[in-house]
């Protein structure tokens, strides 16, 4: 299991994972226009990462995204979302839509909704990096024969 799954799964994952990732970003970026949003998009993006980890194994996936990168993006997304909230003080209070106060943009256009688009983007980064990092950490976990968990090179 250390080298991932069969070539059929690997090739399918190569073909599909990019599309899944793009769809996740699309769901998040058009959250203010259609159903979806940052959380759902982030989980879809993380699902692409989960697919890569499952198909190619934890070791190969670490060459694409490392746990340290996941921690960094997770924390950065959370911090930037909080920064958007704090920037609301520019026009009066916490979580005030400070971009929307200047111009809400034209409804049904991509650049509308003020901070909603920006917040969705940061939630996407936060959720996807957090879930991908947690799954990567889980992939290093391998059960031993006698029960209990131990660290192994290959993991999943």
């Amino acid at each position: 299991m250390t080298a991932g799954m069969t070539p059929i799964v690997k090739n399918t994952a190569r073909l599909v994972s990019g599309f899944i990732a793009v769809f996740g970003i699309y769901i998040a970026l058009t959250g203010h226009l259609s159903p979806g949003g940052g959380f759902a998009g982030g989980v879809i993006l993380a699902a692409a990462a989960v697919l890569v980890v499952l198909a190619f194994g934890g070791q190969a996936a670490r060459k694409i995204f490392t746990p340290a990168q996941c921690h960094l993006w997770d924390a950065a997304g959370a911090g930037l979302f909080l920064a958007v909230a704090a920037l609301g003080y520019v026009s009066g209070g916490f979580f005030v839509n400070f971009i929307g106060r200047i111009s809400t943009g034209q409804t049904f256009r991509l650049f509308s909704g003020g901070t909603i688009l920006v917040s969705n983007l940061f939630i996407l980064v936060k959720v996807s990096a957090g879930l991908a990092g947690a799954f990567l950490a889980l992939s290093a976990l391998r059960r031993m024969r006698g029960g209990g968990a131990a660290l192994e090179g290959g993991g999943i």
Binding site: G37, F81, G130, A140
Partner: protein, 199 residues
């Protein structure tokens, strides 16, 4: 009216799936039954007109199901402890008492002048011919596009009117993932593994 019966049917499916998940001895069957309950819930969200929730439910359910199956398949085992009839009776009594309590609370609080509104009429909503002044939801629906510029009123509520709640949700996810890292961290795990190997 038709939707209510569909929802009731799906609720019955969910109940059956959850009972199977609790009662079956095979962990893989249990996980799949939980997944069935989750997907039925997402269909209920869709029927009640909440596509945002339905999308999130489907996606989270799928990822959680993949994760759980991956963890189960590495160690195909069944639930260890055997349940004696006495234990089953005790569990059944507790669940029955909880159900009776919830039913009693629902019937006590619902009704014409109760706290709980009838099915399909949310607390914040209002009927046009109602004497009660409309809740904020009518205002959200009428003015969210003009005030925030977002076409999706749900997102306007989540990330503008009620963004505090979303911040709390984001904090919960952040802390949960932090806890997962703490449990799965390399150093603690290695030490634990050695101890397990020694004994």
């Amino acid at each position: 009216m038709g939707i209510e019966y569909l929802v009731l049917l799906l609720l019955a499916v969910m109940l059956a799936a959850v009972v199977i998940a609790v009662e079956t001895r095979d962990l893989l069957s249990s996980v799949i039954a939980i997944g069935a309950a989750g997907f039925a819930l997402s269909v209920i969200f869709l029927l009640l007109g909440a596509p945002d929730l339905a999308i999130t439910q489907v996606v989270v359910e799928t990822v959680a199901l993949v994760l759980l199956i991956r963890l189960i398949v590495t160690r195909r085992d069944t639930a260890d402890e055997t349940q004696t009839p006495r234990d089953a009776l005790r569990t059944g009594l507790v669940m029955l008492a909880g159900g009776v309590l919830l039913c009693g609370a629902y019937f006590a609080l619902s009704g014409t002048d109760g706290v709980i509104p009838p099915f399909g009429e949310p607390v914040l909503g209002h009927k046009p011919d109602d004497a009660i002044p409309p809740g904020v939801s009518a205002d959200y629906l009428a003015r969210s596009a003009e005030q925030t510029g977002a076409a999706n009123a749900v997102m306007a509520v989540l990330l503008d009117y009620r963004a505090y709640d979303t911040l709390g949700e984001a904090t919960i996810i952040f802390v949960a993932i932090l806890g997962a890292y703490a449990v799965l961290r390399r150093s603690g795990r290695k030490k634990h593994g050695i101890e397990e190997a020694d004994t």
